[in-house]
Amino acid sequence: MSRAAQSLYSIETRSIVKTYDSDFGTIYAVNEVSLQVTAGEFVALVGPSGSGKTTMLSILASLLQPTAGQILLDGQDISQMNDAERVALRREKIGFTFQANNLLPYLSAVENVELMLRLNDQLDKAGRLRARELLARLGLGERLNNLTGQLSGGQQQRVAIARALIHNPSLVLADEPTANLDTERAFQVVETFAGLIHEQQRAGIMVTHDLRMCAFVDRVLQMQDGKLVRSYNSKKEIAGLINNKA
């Protein structure tokens, strides 16, 4: 069965629904969410706790199957993939950074980044060089061989960003990447992340609680009770959102 479908976007969701059964009836964690992100666009997904943004991120990451709806990544419908296909998709087409525990502690910074290339069987001389260059660009040129425990929280997040981008994925996802960082480092990390997403023409989606981090994104999608309730599409609207919340 061909899963190819027409889409102008890197990632597009069509009426995604995710429900859970509980003693109180069916809970809609995500309810009819449709969104689109183009290559080179960095989007923030915001909303209060329980609004469904983490569930939406898990579905986009193909870590969770939607109950209904369609997800098109590079025009390919990933919502009906089996487990093995989803694992391969995550490996080849998606880059991740998580809130914490991002890196393998027994690998050095550069080994953590190279791991994505190893998993994709793409680790060659050029790949090794690219990993080093990317880390150097992220200000970690002197920390290539340091283990995770020898890096600060901000440095670890930057290594995670390098790992998320090294294998040229179509979609880059970040779950609260600044949650464990102080304000100054948080701004640095998101600014660098945004810069690389724009430069490398990836579709980037970041879930965050911290609206100040939206200063570096192109668009903000606000969720509430499992639904997309508002989109902030211009810099002016985003600035308004940040200032209003501040």
């Binding site: 991120l57 870590l63 969770l64 391969a88 995550r90 809130q99 525990n101 890196l103 998993l119």
Partner: protein, 390 residues
């Protein structure tokens, strides 16, 4: 497959190397278990060997007992006419008597007498041990003795020396001088060093009660039978029982199993060995389970970024195998070093096949102990591991 092995080997070795103190600790625990298992196996072999050595080295297929003697050599009593009758059975190549008793070898001044098994055998017939140094008995009545290697080592007697034997006859200790004419290989009997004498000499010098002094008819315990065709042991057992009155014939292997305490001793030691291996399974299983529990988030990340379950499982198995191999190797080396420090009186024998079986079992306990942790690792859900589940 090659790709999976390559990544899993990379992850497994990197983790071991970067946490070498922790993994070395587990290897040392496995090494101690190895040491214990190998020593129990060697002790089992040594004790078993001490019990069966003479019988197991016999150039004979059958042992003939007095009927209804419960296959107890000391309880069986056979007159010499039985020997002639057995030799006449068709298919029997040779037969010789075996008579058992104990005596004390008087050693040089200041040393405790050495307790030894005093075995009477038929010179030139089945049951006579091979002589490695010296010569066989000169006559059937010679006041001569052949020492097994253990008796020679512990008594420090050599060919040409005179052995002074003390036995109790009636209510008196009697002393006999016997000339050492030969030394054989190890031929322990009933966990004692052994001295061999001609059967008629044995009858003269053996411990006896006063009531036996006038008994002119010498009596042996069992008769050892060599067959013309070893494959015919089963039918010859029956033929001997039919043609010779009041006897029971069994194969040498059955005679060994019937030695007093032999089966109980071996099963006790085998049980100890099995329990030690079981403890090993629990220790290794426990360590790797704790290790996996500590790595739930890491495994979640690995799976989230596209590692397959095969990579996660193979890395875990490889770690377990490497740690186990290292532990068994260290344990084997420690055992070899320790074994050099034991005096020859300690009944520890490192037999190649027994040690190989123990080592194979030890190499298996690692993966066996780690099975639960591997199953757990494979079942880790990245969503839950990363705290993303709703």
């Amino acid at each position: 497959m090659k790709h999976i092995l390559s990544i899993s080997a990379y992850l497994a070795i990197k983790e071991i190397w970067r946490n070498r103190a922790r993994f070395l600790l587990v290897s040392l625990v496995i090494a101690l278990i190895t040491l214990l298992v190998l020593f129990i196996a060697a002790l089992g072999e040594g004790l078993g060997n001490g019990n069966r050595e003479y019988l197991s080295k016999l150039d004979a297929e059958l042992v003939v007992y007095q009927a209804k003697s419960d296959l107890l050599i000391s309880a069986s009593r056979l007159e010499r006419d039985k020997l002639a009758a057995i030799r006449r059975v068709q298919g029997v190549q040779d037969a010789g008597v075996l008579a058992t008793a104990n005596g004390n070898i008087i050693l040089a001044e200041g040393r405790e007498p050495l307790k030894a098994a005093l075995l009477g055998i038929e010179p030139g017939h089945t049951g006579e041990p091979p002589v490695l140094e010296g010569r066989p008995f000169s006559t059937k009545l010679a006041q001569e003795v052949i020492l097994d290697r253990n008796a020679a080592l512990r008594s420090k007697l050599e060919v040409g020396d005179t052995l002074e034997l003390r036995v109790t006859q009636g209510t008196r200790d009697e002393f006999y001088d016997l000339r050492v004419v030969g030394i054989s290989d190890g031929q322990q009997y009933a966990l004692q060093p052994t001295i061999f004498v001609p059967f008629f000499t044995w009858e003269q010098i053996r411990p006896k009660a006063e009531a036996e002094f006038d008994n002119s008819d010498p009596v042996a315990n069992v008769i050892l039978v060599k067959l013309e065709d070893g494959e015919q042991a089963e039918s010859l057992k029956q033929r001997i029982a039919q043609q010779v009155n009041n006897v029971e014939a069994v194969e040498v292997a059955d005679a060994i199993q019937a030695l007093p305490g032999y089966s109980a001793q071996q099963s006790t030691l085998n049980t100890q060995g099995a329990f030690t291996l079981f403890i090993g399974v629990l220790v290794i299983g426990g360590f790797f389970q704790i290790q996996i529990l500590q790595k739930v988030a890491q495994i979640g990340v690995l799976k989230a970024i596209g590692s397959t379950n095969a990579v996660v499982a193979a890395a875990a198995i490889l770690q377990i195998i490497l740690v186990t191999i290292a532990g068994v190797a260290i344990g084997g080396l420690l055992t070899a070093l320790f074994s050099l420090t034991f005096p020859p009186t300690v009944p520890i024998v490192f037999n190649g096949s027994t040690s190989a079986i123990a080592i194979a079992a030890l190499l298996l306990i690692g993966p066996l102990g780690g099975l639960i942790s591997i199953r757990y690792a494979v079942r880790i859900e990245p969503l839950k591991a990363l705290g993303l589940s709703t």
